[in-house]
Amino acid sequence: MKSKGKPKVAVFKLASCDGCQLSLLDAEDELLAVAGAVEIAYFPEATSTMLRGPYDIGLVEGSVTTHHDAERIHQIRRQCHTLITIGACATSGGIQALRNWADSGEMVAHVYASPGHISTLKMSTPVAEHVPVDFELRGCPINKEQLLECISALLAGRKPNIPTYSVCLECKRRDTVCVMVARGVPCLGPVTCAGCGGICPAMGRGCYGCFGPMETPNTAALAAQYKAMGQSREEIIHAFRSYNAWSWQFRKAGEEAEHG
């Protein structure tokens, strides 16, 4: 871990649940190999060693929700040659971006008795709204295989091979009968980016969009289908407003459902 010349990797956390950085520790079979191939220079959840930047690769989990983090993300960007955001919080603002439609002052007062002590921004925003990002890894949580692919690709100097097609293809590949067609279960799979492996439809439930929008999703067609299946206006709005609510495609879809 100390030998010179290995790329220095840093892992940073903003507002999040810790699950995406845990994905690295959950790569039980590969962890020691990864630790051998790179120098883990900064990863507070896993090590008390904190080496100063600059870093070759920075992984950022979490969304920007405080003044402090809004400043810190610029420092992080300056320290990292390649900056990768991991997970729905970092790439789309996360579930906590639901505050973006609400009165966040009222929300803080709802949760804390002395809201004056709580410093938080009105909005929860993805890292890319603050600084340029080199690659975004989607998912709530990310898929650890995709994380390993991403790190391997960077070490090899190639582009990560991460799909941008929909969850539907994953269902076809694993022979899952379409829950929407066969059972009439509302499913966000047609507009959601692949990456999870199609786990929800495989359990007979609809996709709830935790990997965020696929490339060029047809959200209007899906919203119309939901309506035809008897979903209420609120149910359609909530379907788009969850873990990736602030991604522009789902944000637009939610607003269309609200006003259209």
């Binding site: 810790d18 008390s48 060693t49 949760v111 002395s114 949580p141 492996g197 359990m203 709830y208």
Partner: protein
């Protein structure tokens, strides 16, 4: 003599989430201790309002990537109590199996990757692996087995998708679960090795007279069900949690402090469970615990690492038993949870044993099944005051150590609690108080 000296850790490491610690001495006496949590608030309790109950288990899982199962379990039990749902025995068994998976995964993570390096003098498990390679590999293998149980029932280890209000979206076939038995047999050996490893560690001599709080079940080592009991006589159903425990917002922390009304701090987690439910452990595990240096009442918080190892063994054995006895229901596995329960207005409560201690949820639903209010009290918030009191005692008792060693000791005593700061921050209160 009255020289002011401060010990500061600006960024706690090997904990889940962001916090710092500050200890100020005046002479040899500790004058102030602050465990600050600066993890940004995420306001879950606020944005849960208006969401349908079917969405709640998935939403609250996002509070914590380390213990999402705990959030799902407390949520489904609280919501089912409102909706009048009583899941069949097979569902009950699989929920316990799911929890076993999370206990194994979380305890192995904490013992090997986060806490053992303190005792053995390393900055992290990866460095520790240079000298203790087999131990670190054993820890990773155990953690993987725990994760595989969660994956078998939930599709993935973090934020699994199988649990729902009423049961599971899909019940596994018995041969799917049976495939896990070889790994569990190996895990049993690894867990015994884990006990062997931790019992030989060196433990700082420190004890405190805690009030322990845990769930207690009539027959089992409690995970999903039981009464909330304490070592000083509390014995109530989870519905009455609010009558005995309070939460207070402390200015320097984004997490709320908990206490017992009329008394003060208390301790939840492995040590509390062990002390209160020792008689629910199999006789040979009790014997193993005694031989390993822990027996109730164990009041040395540093020995919680031994109890985590013991609980890992218990969870491995429970998982094995549940899988061996599992008979999937004859119906369509995807229909077992039945139709979604009909909405009903009401208030429901539940406590379950997260790896770090009891996790209390309370929900109010309206007649359409939408959340009117939610209150979530995570274990780390409950332990926060006790952690500060430990720091107070540990620091004072070791005031003669040099700065660096004292700082390390303070960090180690915080890690005794496996604090999940991400969890602690997102919690809220139900009674809105606006000044």
């Amino acid at each position: 003599m009255n020289k002011v000296r401060t010990i500061k850790v600006d960024m706690l490491t090997r904990v889940e989430g962001e916090g710092s610690v500050y200890v100020r001495f005046r002479g040899d006496k500790v004058a102030e201790v602050k465990l600050k949590i600066f993890e940004p608030p995420r306001l879950f309790e606020a944005f849960l309002r208006g969401r349908h109950f079917r969405e709640v288990p998935d939403i609250v899982a996002r509070i914590c990537g380390i213990c999402p199962v705990a959030y799902q379990m407390s949520a489904v039990h609280a919501l089912e109590s409102i909706l009048g749902v009583h899941p069949p025995p097979a569902v009950r068994a699989l929920r316990r199996l799911l929890y076993c998976g999370e206990w194994i995964e979380s305890h192995a993570l904490h013992v090997y990757l986060l806490h053992a390096p303190d005792f053995l003098g390393y900055p992290d498990a990866l460095t520790m692996a240079h000298h203790h390679g087999p131990a670190v590999k054993a820890g990773l293998a155990l953690k993987k087995t725990g994760n595989q149980l969660v994956i078998a029932l939930g599709g993935r280890e973090i934020h699994p998708v199988g649990a729902r209000v009423g049961g599971f979206y899909r019940m596994p076939a018995s041969n799917e679960l049976a495939q896990l038995l070889p790994a569990l047999r190996e895990a049993r050996e690894l867990a015994l090795g884990m006990v062997e490893l931790v019992r030989t560690l060196e433990f700082p001599a420190f004890e405190r007279d805690y009030e322990f709080v845990a769930l207690r079940h009539p027959a089992e080592y409690a995970m999903n069900e039981g009464r909330v009991v304490s070592s000083q006589g509390i014995d109530v159903a989870p519905e009455l949690y609010g009558e005995h425990f309070f939460e207070k917002h402390i200015g320097y922390s984004n997490a709320l402090h908990s206490g017992i009304k009329g008394r003060g701090s208390y301790l939840v987690g492995p040590l509390a469970r062990f002390n209160l439910n020792f008689d629910r452990l199999p006789a040979y595990v009790q014997q193993l615990a005694r031989e390993s240096g822990v027996e109730p009442p164990c009041r040395n918080p540093f020995k919680s690492i031994i109890v985590r190892a013991i609980e890992t063994l218990v969870a491995v054995e429970e998982a094995t038993r549940i899988i061996e006895e599992y008979e999937p229901p004859p119906e369509d596995p995807m229909r077992l949870g039945g139709q979604e329960p009909a909405p009903r207005a009401g208030v429901g409560h539940a406590c379950t044993e997260a790896p770090r201690g009891i996790l209390y949820h309370r929900y109010e639903l309206d007649a359409h099944g939408l959340v009117v209010s939610a209150r979530i009290v995570p274990p780390t918030a409950q332990n926060q005051k006790g952690i500060e009191e430990d720091l107070w005692g540990v620091a004072e008792q070791s005031a003669n150590l040099n700065e660096e060693r004292l700082r390390l000791l303070c960090e180690q005593s915080i890690r005794n609690y496996d604090p999940c700061i991400s969890c602690a921050t997102h919690f809220l209160r139900l009674d809105v108080r606006r000044s």
